[in-house]
Symmetry: C2
Subunit: 281 residues, 2 copies
Amino acid sequence: MSKTLVDPFPYHTLQLGLVFDRAREFDLIHSHVDYYAYPYTRLVATPTVTTLHGRLDLPELLPIYDRYREVNLVSISDAQREPLAGLDLNWVATIYHGLPVAKLGPFHPQPGDYLAYLGRISPEKRPEIAILIAKETGIPLKIAAKVDRVDRSYYEHAIKPWIEPPHIEYIGEISEEEKSAFLGEAYATLFPIEWPEPFGLIMIESLACGTPVVARRFGSVQEIMAHGLTGFICDSVREMIDAVGRIPDIDRQACRRHVEERFTDSVMAKNYESVYQRLRG
Amino acid sequence: MSKTLVDPFPYHTLQLGLVFDRAREFDLIHSHVDYYAYPYTRLVATPTVTTLHGRLDLPELLPIYDRYREVNLVSISDAQREPLAGLDLNWVATIYHGLPVAKLGPFHPQPGDYLAYLGRISPEKRPEIAILIAKETGIPLKIAAKVDRVDRSYYEHAIKPWIEPPHIEYIGEISEEEKSAFLGEAYATLFPIEWPEPFGLIMIESLACGTPVVARRFGSVQEIMAHGLTGFICDSVREMIDAVGRIPDIDRQACRRHVEERFTDSVMAKNYESVYQRLRG
């Protein structure tokens, strides 16, 4: 979108109009725009299903979810539903994200010699814990991350002072193409989050390359990871440091297989087809 | 709204749902939420009319207005329509804002000794021109204004260095109750805007108190003001300075009457009733 356009809502609204004007032509409408479509679902006969992509623990969401309990909802993890558990919503399935099999990066059978951190630099992602782990274990850390404008001050004060190449390296934002090599060539990927992560694509992207993940137990992590098989799920920074020492116990082939069996586009598509069939009635 | 709530859109969406769910109960729906309601208008049989309150010269508005040309629109000035003139929209009326007659402040027959500036401190309102006029004419200026967070730096750099009480005074934000005395006790109100003002309530609030307005020719100004009767409409800062010198020619009683005849709640209500009748068919 052009930088001269400041407001995305005219386009959200236009998109909803384009779809719901033609509701009768569709067997089913699959919405990915959170609550924006809910009022429309009562004004047309075509069934709608909404996949929720974000965190649901914001207090301003309660009134609208409370009013639209009948809306068909798909969560991207069971954990994602928790903040709204009191509302008795109409959850029709949890369907995990899947990576396109054709585009799964190459499998990297040999571990590299660095720890990888990939994601936004923001307080809820806790990149400073990744730095702490690198310092404690003596293993180099590479941070590939975007700094959003809102997180600029956090980066300047909490992260930048700790960057000391080559031990703690900040390589900035990387492209989709660079991701696979960055993750695949790592010893392990660190996922030190401290927020209700609804899914966490980085975990399956890393595992697809064969690189185990050391993660903190928040949000969806227990559903995506198999503790001791694809890496480790930890309750403290101390456990994360210990877990990095146990990375040689993890079979990189098993990490890849974990994704191939559970988190591919074809698994995801099959699950959605089943939901579509059910809702068409 | 509580400060812990960061996103207003769940409430906008909820509000639209509350109204359009019950569309059949209403003879007509009058929307004040810009384009948000447009897609809904095609999904219910109840006629809708939308009063537009903002500027319409933002490029992101074009596609959605283009798609919903049939929506019944009320502008708050003819000038407000101009940016969308190419789209052949369904304008059903221009209805000016009206002040509640019961709450019209007291009429101030005698001019005070200062120039008043009331409004936001923002570049498009050009408060620095008010300062320039005060300096050139030697008449004191009182600035009653809010500084939004986004305009803080503009205030610090462009306005604050010029504040020199008692000649140039910044009195901060004032309450609704204080407005009438602030405007009514002024010699004239300055309205040095440089943006497509859709209406400009300050002008009629000042005139209602009897205080003439010296304004720049932008947006709705020519529709709200009567040049030479309620103050002056100017094309340059030089003209504004000269106009301040001609304020004694203006009859403060005529300023008050101008509002009583054109810009009251009862005039506005009568105009809306006529639109409602027409649209109910």
